[in-house]
Subunit: 379 residues, 2 copies
């Protein structure tokens, strides 16, 4: 005697409910028969067949060719999710390079492309170089632009909710660039823009060092050091997209981290010097180790501020300063933990230099899923 109406009894809502449930069932993997799928989703066989016709028509499902080696009799038809129906493009744009990751609807990466960028080039040239890199990436993967369903980009700085770079000290001439609109011109699909450390946090939870962790802080140790936060399994952007920017406070040790390690103020040179210091320290050089330890002690205040503000389960440390080995992470662990009141774990990123790009892929896929699994109508 249900008197509480289910979605007002709107038949189009019920159709979408059934569609979404069936799609979810198919995406779970395997190649189910109609009967298996109907049982799994909890719909009748005729309803499931109707939904499958619609999904096949939309290119999201297809009948699997019957296995040639099977015994006599007509085999039951089997279906699979067509992950190649559409693609998500994730990108990281920073001062020195663009990284592009192209993934199918299951998040399988089918194309990777890296291109160097001029640190000091104007925003317009940077955008031109990004567009050229996108064209190359798509051509290499043999995926046409029209098959992109969503694009997301991560970049340093505060990104406002409209996708504009509201504040950026790391990339020259980047302040005020409406990146979502600029990139949007090149694509026939939604384009999202997000702070790079935020995306790295999302990626570490998806496929990195914080899988299954709902509350985490990511430390992106680079030229400056940025942070990203996931709370309750969701990216915490903050009211104006500026959450995690504790690095702007001078005393917290997160500004000019690369220069500090390199003992060299020129950005381009500092990065090469910093890498040398890290490699030498990793190899046991006492002077280099002392430098890394000094940097970790300095950064510990800012990292501890984030840990104490958020009280996450896990901190993941990644970024350019961790690519030469785990030493910075080990030292941070030693210097941060004395400040902390909780047994927060501090882990090294396991995604190399792809954290930001992978997070962008995840963000784009989430956007696609929002549409695929939308139950309410467009209104």
């Amino acid at each position: 005697m249900a008197e509480v109406p289910l979605h007002g009894g709107d038949p189009s809502v019920l159709r979408r409910l059934n569609l979404a449930a069936t799609l979810r069932g198919l995406r779970g993997g395997g190649e189910p028969t109609v009967t298996e799928l109907a049982g799994q989703v909890g719909l009748s066989r005729p309803t499931t067949e109707g939904v499958l016709v619609e999904l096949v028509g939309r290119g999201l499902a297809e009948e699997v060719a019957p296995d040639a080696g099977r015994r006599l009799g007509r085999p039951a038809r089997r279906y699979r999710f067509r992950a190649e129906a559409g693609y998500a493009l994730g990108m990281e744009i920073d001062a020195r390079r663009v990284l592009l990751l192209l993934a199918d609807l299951d998040g399988r990466v089918v194309g990777v492309h890296r291109a160097d960028l001029e640190v000091d080039c104007p925003a317009r040239e940077r955008l031109t170089a990004v567009r050229a890199a996108v064209a190359t990436c798509l051509a290499e993967a043999d995926v046409s632009r029209s098959r992109l369903w969503a694009v997301a980009a991560g970049t340093p700085g505060v990104i406002d909710p409209s996708g504009r770079v509201a504040f950026c000290t790391v990339v020259p001439d980047w302040d005020g660039v409406h990146l979502a609109r600029e990139l949007g011109r090149s694509f026939p699909c939604p384009v999202l823009v997000e702070n790079d450390a935020n995306l790295a946090a999302v990626a570490e939870r998806w496929r990195g060092a914080a899988q299954g962790v709902d509350d985490l802080v990511y430390i992106l140790a680079g030229l400056h050091t940025g942070t990203g936060t996931v709370i309750g399994g969701r990216l915490h952007r903050g009211r104006w997209g500026a959450a995690g920017e504790v690095g702007v406070i001078p005393g917290l040790g997160l500004r000019d981290t690369t220069e500090e390690l390199a003992g060299e103020p020129q950005p381009g040179v500092a990065e090469r010097m910093a890498e040398k210091v890290l490699v030498a320290a990793q190899a046991g050089d006492p002077a280099a180790r002392a430098r890394v330890e000094r940097l970790a002690a300095r950064m510990a205040v800012g990292v501890a501020a984030m840990v104490l503000a958020i009280d996450p389960e896990t901190v993941v440390v990644g970024g350019a300063l961790t690519l030469a080995g785990d030493l910075l992470v080990t030292e941070l662990r030693r210097h941060v933990q004395p400040f902390c009141l909780s047994p927060t774990r501090i882990e090294a990123s396991t995604l190399g230099d792809e954290s930001v790009g992978l997070g962008a892929v995840r963000l784009a896929l989430d956007r696609i899923d929002d549409v695929l699994f939308r139950i309410e109508g467009p209104g």
Copy 2:
């Protein structure tokens, strides 16, 4: 043709759905007739009548006496929510006092009681004094202990998820006290314990300076300065209940804030001195103003760290150091905003010394509502 089952068709779930919906309708206020209530909730008249019988039986609703001045004919029966069916007790326990707020199920405060506590007394004596204060408060309000449906207490320090004081520097002998269990012995209902600044944040959103604000940070400026955070409308406790404890980092200016203002290290004396400084500064005394300004500049780093970590819409500043006037808040505004990347507002608390106690009332009421409006069964 809904094939997606609604709660598995469990009739007890449907009954609870109807009960919760009707209760919500009644709590909206007014004294609706059965027909009005049925229309508002979307149930049939007979179902609504059945639910009302159950609510009246449970003491949650009652028929309102018909208006004597009405015209002839039998008037339609009207019903109201019985907010006096149960009570929530909220308390603040700190080093120097206990504040008790007793509220009915609508959150109307029907009893307030304050008692001084000895700063240096052992935990056991503190608990005894709290119990005596509770007895007095209930007697004054003429509410028997058996009518309490939930109790919540706010206290300084890190409170672990079980309600134990895991870390506390402000209240002597308080570290390690299992406050939820100790208080639980005195009450026949659930007892919740939470960090004091966390509860103040909840209260400011409920009835204070941050109504309608989903993302806020509360700064409790007292002996030390604690912070509480609400994100997306929900209290953010952190993984181990330690969120917001940036004050433990020495350089952030949130430790020993009262002593710093007083220029006097003895806690009992420092509070009286600090109040004198604040009153003098408010009256325009230049030396006192300089002290307040110096404190604000020092605290600004810690407050900015919270603002930059969380990026809230609003910061509310309350606690003992704000009770003598808005000067500290004004000075904080001036010193914090240069650090910030977002137009976060900084507001003075409007709840006086009752923020923590009111937040405790809200927490207890939320617990009561969880039970009243529970739709799933106890399993």
